[in-house]
């Protein structure tokens, strides 16, 4: 045992020494994502997107004449580890800016470290309102919190003539937050809100919740969860003969995976999403979208991953733009520069607006939100 430990330690040291000098010629960007544990699939998608961005930037000569180097670490879908990873990236790898950490509780765990070491982080996925409202000026978020999504949806609801809606949401910050913010918005619109049912992360059988919802007088169900549970819900709703309009939110639906896995059960479902890989021409930045998608396919990843991975792509481009703007790879300068950048993201311009308590605001960008509809296995823009 002890011998193995010695060996491991030695190798660790060697690796550290080797990677040490290399840092001088490159600019490092830390990536803090879940590659194992409950969120492994999504974290991996995001990292793959990030790699595409890094390679693209380096192909064009990097930033400030140096190549950028992604230091990718696994936070094991665990807040303790997310904080530990932040420590490593900042102290051992000396990354002046980071991207992370997918889940909200993971990001929240990293935030005290950002304060401690005054290092900025681009938040690519987390949706909890707390992240941008708890007064952490090192946070720059490109993903829409559910409140932003609700506001975007507000302009569409009239055209869908909703009377009464039920909710079926994953029992975490994302699901609960969505139910809260959307209910508020619906009430303002004079739309009745019925049941709010939850399902645990990783639960496989939602028949009980669906049977309950089937019995209500609401004509629409808002569903918020990751793609795997969405697929199951569509199948199980169909099995229960539930004939209600289903609208999903959150932007990580991977409609293609739904079509592939839920088949006919997915027909007639609508999805609020933040990226349109199916209609590059309709996106705010078509040629970037086309490049991203072609790269994605070239690397043999399944197309379904696009709706998750594009955030990694945008996140890294945002960080790189900030470094470029700052003119030097130093945390303070990069943080300052974040406020002045304007990146043509795959789902709209990335421009940070102040959010949170006076004097220590976090940055929040306002991405576009689209409503798409699945009909006989085809994905189409909802004509409004």
């Amino acid at each position: 045992m002890m011998r193995t430990m010695k060996y491991v330690a030695a190798v660790a040291l060697a690796v550290a020494l080797l990677s040490g000098p290399a840092g001088a010629q490159t600019i490092k960007i830390g990536v803090n994502e879940p590659l194992t544990g409950a969120f492994a699939a999504s974290g991996t998608y995001v990292v793959n997107g990030a790699r595409i961005a890094a390679d693209e930037i380096n192909a064009k000569g990097g930033v400030l004449g140096k190549k950028i180097e992604l230091v990718i670490e696994d936070n094991k879908s665990n807040p303790t580890e997310a904080a530990a990873v932040a420590e490593k990236l900042i102290n051992s790898d000396k990354t002046p800016v980071m991207m992370g950490a997918w889940g909200s509780s993971l990001t929240l765990a990293v935030m005290p470290k950002l304060m401690e070491y005054e290092t900025p982080m681009v938040v690519e996925t987390s949706s909890s309102g707390k992240i941008t409202t708890s007064g952490n000026p090192y946070i720059f978020r490109i993903s829409p919190p559910s409140a932003v999504e609700a506001v975007a949806f507000k302009n569409i609801v009239d055209k869908l003539d909703l009377k009464k809606v039920d909710f079926l949401v994953i029992n975490n910050d994302w699901g609960r937050g969505t139910a809260e913010d959307f209910s508020k918005m619906f009430k303002e619109k004079g739309i009745a809100v019925g049941l709010v049912e939850t399902m645990d992360q990783g639960a496989q059988d939602m028949s009980a919740q669906l049977a309950k919802i089937k019995g209500t007088d609401a004509e629409t169900v808002i569903v918020t969860t990751a793609v795997d549970q969405l697929t199951l819900i569509f199948k199980q709703a169909a099995a229960l003969g539930m004939k209600k309009r289903i609208i999903t939110t959150g932007g990580s639906q991977n409609p293609d995976q739904i079509v592939a896995q839920a088949g006919a059960a997915a027909n007639g479902t609508m999805h609020l999403t933040t990226f349109l890989p199916w209609f590059p021409e309709k996106t705010p930045n078509p040629e970037a979208t086309n490049y991203f998608i072609s790269e994605w396919k070239k690397r043999g990843f399944d197309f379904a991953g696009c709706t998750e991975s594009f955030r990694g792509y945008d996140g890294i481009r945002t960080a790189a733009a900030a470094i470029e703007k700052a003119g030097k790879a130093e945390p303070a300068a990069i943080k300052a520069a974040m406020w002045d950048i304007k990146v043509k993201g795959l789902n709209g311009d990335i421009v940070f607006r102040k959010s949170g308590p006076e004097g220590k605001e976090s940055g929040q960008s306002q991405p576009n939100v689209y409503l798409i509809e699945i009909n006989d296995g085809k994905i189409g823009m909802k004509s409004l």
């Binding site: 045992m1 193995t4 430990m5 491991v8 330690a9 190798v11 660790a12 690796v15 550290a16 990677s19 590659l35 194992t36 670490e73 696994d74 094991k76 665990n78 807040p79 303790t80 580890e81 904080a83 530990a84 420590e87 490593k88 102290n91 051992s92 909200s104 509780s105 929240l108 765990a109 935030m111 005290p112 401690e116 909890s128 707390k130 708890s134 029992n171 975490n172 910050d173 699901g175 609960r176 937050g177 939850t198 645990d200």
Partner: protein, 348 residues
């Protein structure tokens, strides 16, 4: 001689921040230390009463939530428009309450679950932890459920006359964790080397015989459960104030597994076991990180665990103790009193 070893060990740990400059490793040591404290408390049950609790993280988490809520404050609506409002208290009070509340839970759980033993006890403790997790997840008004409790303040030590010292830096937290760990260790070692500890061992080895010499089963086991839970609660409080955010995942089964691994690999029933096992399995991920893909790290983690159990089935410390003890046989023949010291070492 034993106290000499103890002092040297503590001194060694205390000196770490002086030569270890990397905050990342220091951070790893702090979190590892917190889990070692929890593992020590588990060892009191598993190693000295033979009761394997796989729900031990429940007390850890209850301590974390108690401490966090005490120092953050809360406002819980009750039926009938009533509200339970609690204004923030200093974190140190949270720490104290965490110990007390966790201990109380230990009392009730002990009272109920010691009616069953063996595999049944294992399952009932797992179930208890899961129920607590689901309550933390769904009682949103109190715990904010999955929305997590964030901005938990760091622990502050009141210094009479000088106001208070807020433990923000890693250095401070390292010594805080070390202090709590040493206290817990001393407490447990005193306990197991007292007649309480002998009663526990007696029950573990031959319950009927133990009873026949006047040992009260329920009282002894419940006492162990209370102290064990209280220490776990203290660890949880340290966790909450160091990581500064907690969500119901703090009750995750993997956290219990981590503690059990630390105890059994290090050697259950040996005071030093959880410390040794804890250092190995707490720091292993740090060493594995740079040399393996994430999945491989987990596979190695599981593999190392299995190997230890095959090579040193009784755990690292007892197995080494045994070898070392052989060379001590002669010394022992001196007599009872002389032996009583070395007997204490056996369990130290």
């Amino acid at each position: 001689m034993r106290s000499g070893v103890a002092i040297l060990t503590v001194a060694a740990f205390a000196s770490v921040p002086l030569w270890l400059r990397d905050p990342y490793l220091l951070n790893a040591l702090i979190t590892t230390g917190i889990f070692i404290i929890a593992a020590m408390s588990l060892n009191l049950l598993l190693g000295f009463t033979g009761q394997l609790s796989l729900g031990h993280v429940a007390f850890f988490g209850i301590g974390a939530y108690t401490s966090a809520l005490t120092s953050l404050g809360f406002d819980v609506p009750l039926p009938g428009g009533l509200h339970v409002v609690h204004d923030p208290w200093p974190p140190i009070a949270g720490f104290a309450l965490a110990v007390v509340i966790a201990g109380l839970c230990g009392y009730f759980v002990g009272r109920l679950s010691f009616r069953v033993r063996g595999a049944y006890f294992v399952i009932v403790t797992i179930s208890f932890a899961e129920v607590v997790r689901l309550v933390a997840l769904n009682w949103v008004e109190l715990t904010q459920g999955p929305l997590a409790l964030n901005n938990i303040p760091s622990i502050a030590l009141p210094l009479p006359g000088f106001g208070e010292l807020v433990l923000r830096t890693k250095l401070q937290n390292y010594y805080l964790v070390l202090a709590v760990a040493v206290t817990a260790y001393a407490l447990i070692s005193r306990l197991v080397n007292s007649h309480f500890g002998r009663a526990m061992r007696g029950l573990m080895e031959n319950e009927a015989l133990a009873i026949s010499v006047g040992i009260d089963v329920t009282r002894t086991l419940t006492l162990a459960a209370v102290i064990s839970a209280a220490i776990a609660g203290a660890a949880g409080s340290l966790y909450a104030h160091y990581i500064r955010i907690i969500d119901p995942e703090v009750f995750a089964f993997i956290n219990t597994v981590t503690m059990v691994i630390m105890v059994i690999s290090g050697g259950k029933g040996s005071l030093a076991g959880p410390v040794v096992g804890g250092l190995i399995f707490g720091l292993m991920p740090v060493f594995l990180r740079p040399i393996m893909t994430p999945e491989a790290q987990w596979i190695a983690y599981g593999g190392v665990l299995i190997v230890i159990l095959f090579v040193l089935p009784r755990g690292i410390v007892p197995s080494l103790m045994q070898r070392f003890a052989k060379g001590r046989k002669e010394v022992r023949a001196v007599g009872p009193v002389a032996f009583s010291k070395s007997s204490a070492e056996e369990h130290a």
